[in-house]
Symmetry: C2
Subunit: 360 residues, 2 copies
């Protein structure tokens, strides 16, 4: 990742101070990347960024010390050796603080307990850092667009490779390799054939592609720290009546959700816009998930476009909008694009045709 | 995954009851897989297994309900829709319990707080479930052996592809695809060239392979739920004096660590056995990490073979033992095998030759 805007530290501090936090402890890979430009590979070892008015620091295992050279200069570099679990070093960086904001959806209970035993009072601060991360700056949007371009290229190639007899697992591996060769630090193709596509979380297996299949191709890739995530569908040979009708409903649902994704709209409103359309066609299949979620440094990040999400969308949020319909034993159709929330209507970051492609 | 031994639930309950837990809440992917045979894909949605004397259950999002069919019959199936975050359903399953054991290295602070607000008292129980998971049964060992065989095949092919001019990132993508095509549910090749190999957590990039390079090839793959993780090294053309000497030191260190991996030995003892050998050769490079860690359903699981680990090894633990030496600007040599801890000495699960291969 390129140089990090140091103002992010100032803004985080300003918001933390406003809710009476003495310090913020950042622990998720993506938030660490947001503040430092360095995305750790977290296993059992502790990584964190401590942000406080007087001094801030980044704490890493000694093994990873070489990777934080490009972090903002005002962050003190702290590392710990194999004899430590990093908590004493963290406690030293927090010393003097009483209330410490944490990423409550990431910090593990063991570390929360250890901090409590050191006398710190923890408070959820996930919304503070996500409140910053949710509004993408122009450079971030361009990176998501670049990730989408890579994913589009993957989809185009995947569709070329959709010939009867190809094995689901082999095709997915081949597409993953293509994305990784092109520089994706991670890539998750989920290309499912026929009845397998009826499960939005299916697992590519030994199923061979057959004439008459519907194919649901969901590809995501992380490029230069940011994710793109798109889904298109195809039929092997002419589309069945089911596929044609379902495609049209899902397309309508996507248009409705896009139109609803306005600054100030609630997450649940975007979901409701697609849900009322897909749920009106129960004979075609079931609505098994919400309308989507935000995307950026994480492939899934808040806000989530689901019935329980009552918060308004902020301008410059990037959402992946992905309505779908799934019919057991038959298949699934999903349509997914990444869009930037803008007052004049969403800016769509991909330019793949909105069509149910015929292959084979 | 195939059928799960229901006795695992009994043993977990027995150990939990012995430390006065009223219930255990299992939340990590791998522990859920250990108890149910189903490995979730966790994003923001809650998954858990509640184990208690009177009734036990598995809780999943409605979207994943179809995937728990093969879980042990005595587990009640509980699912929740898009309008819930799963916590009310979890609280209902725990109702009546006071002290709830949790996986403290997995449960997130937000859920720990929510459970505390529901009146439950949490207690760390990671050691209870890991105490079961650490001792592999024969079927588990055979799966790790199968994963190692797949990784070996990947290493053999990778070494065939090591010709001058090949790009690091492309080679890694190609090996990843090979492992995935063969059925790996996840695969992490980390094949680094020349000076890049001096960083054990390096990132494959656009570096082309050159004559004179040392290559450090670390491959891991998850097959049927279980991981194998092996490392071998090569030189492009004849080995340099540095590579030859370093290889011999690392080989000696691996032999010493293997010999130390006896039931009852402390994790730190296994580390010390290799550390005293690699640290005696500072002119060849630095010792940047411990001797290794256990492996199984997770690629990194306790016990960790590091200076701070003071607990004794149990028989039938599977360890990956991976000493290495790293010299900035020159390269790195690491040697890694997966072994089963046995009273008569470790059973090595791979049969790759212990040699510094010359390629190109």
């Amino acid at each position: 990742m390129s140089e990090i805007d140091e103002l992010r530290l100032d803004r985080l501090l300003e918001r933390a101070t406003a809710i009476n936090l003495d310090a913020v402890l950042i622990t998720s890979d993506e938030s660490i990347a947001y503040l430092t430009g360095f995305k750790p590979m977290q296993l059992e070892r502790f990584f964190g960024v401590v942000v406080r008015p007087d001094r801030s620091s980044v704490i890493v295992p000694a093994l990873d010390r070489g990777q934080i050279d490009d972090a903002p200069e005002r962050l003190d570099r702290v590392s710990y050796g194999a004899e430590s679990d990093g908590i004493p070093e963290l406690a030293a960086e927090l010393a003097g603080a009483r209330t410490v904001g944490v990423e409550e959806d990431h910090l593990i209970y063991a570390r929360a307990r250890a901090l409590a035993e050191h006398g710190f009072e923890l408070a959820p601060a996930g919304a503070v850092v996500m409140g910053l991360r949710v509004q993408k700056d122009d450079a971030e949007i361009e990176r998501i667009r670049a990730a989408c371009e890579l994913v589009q290229e993957g989809l185009r190639r995947a569709f070329e490779w959709l010939t009867p007899g190809v094995v689901e697992r082999v095709l997915n591996a081949r597409v993953e390799a293509l994305l990784r060769e092109q520089g994706a630090s991670a890539a998750h193709p989920l290309i499912l054939f026929g009845e397998n596509a009826a499960n939005p979380h299916g697992d590519p297996g030994l199923r061979e592609l057959r004439r008459g299949d519907v194919v649901c191709a969901d590809l995501s890739a992380c490029l230069d720290g940011y994710w793109g995530d798109l889904t298109r569908c195809a039929t092997v040979g002419p589309a069945s009546d089911w596929a044609t009708s379902t495609w049209q409903v899902v397309l309508d649902a996507q248009r409705a959700a896009n139109a609803a994704a306005q600054p100030g709209a609630l997450g649940r409103d975007v979901d409701a816009a697609q849900r009322r359309i897909v749920e009106a066609a129960p004979e075609l299949g079931a609505c098994l998930h919400g309308a989507g979620h935000a995307i950026g440094l994480s492939i899934h990040e808040p806000p989530f476009l689901v019935p329980r999400w009552n918060e308004p969308l902020a301008e410059a949020t990037v959402l992946t909008i992905e309505p779908g319909l799934y019919k057991a034993g038959v298949g699934g159709i999903r349509l997914e694009d990444d869009v930037v929330v803008r007052p004049g209507g969403p800016d769509i970051l991909s330019n793949l045709p909105l069509e149910l492609t015929e292959v084979g």
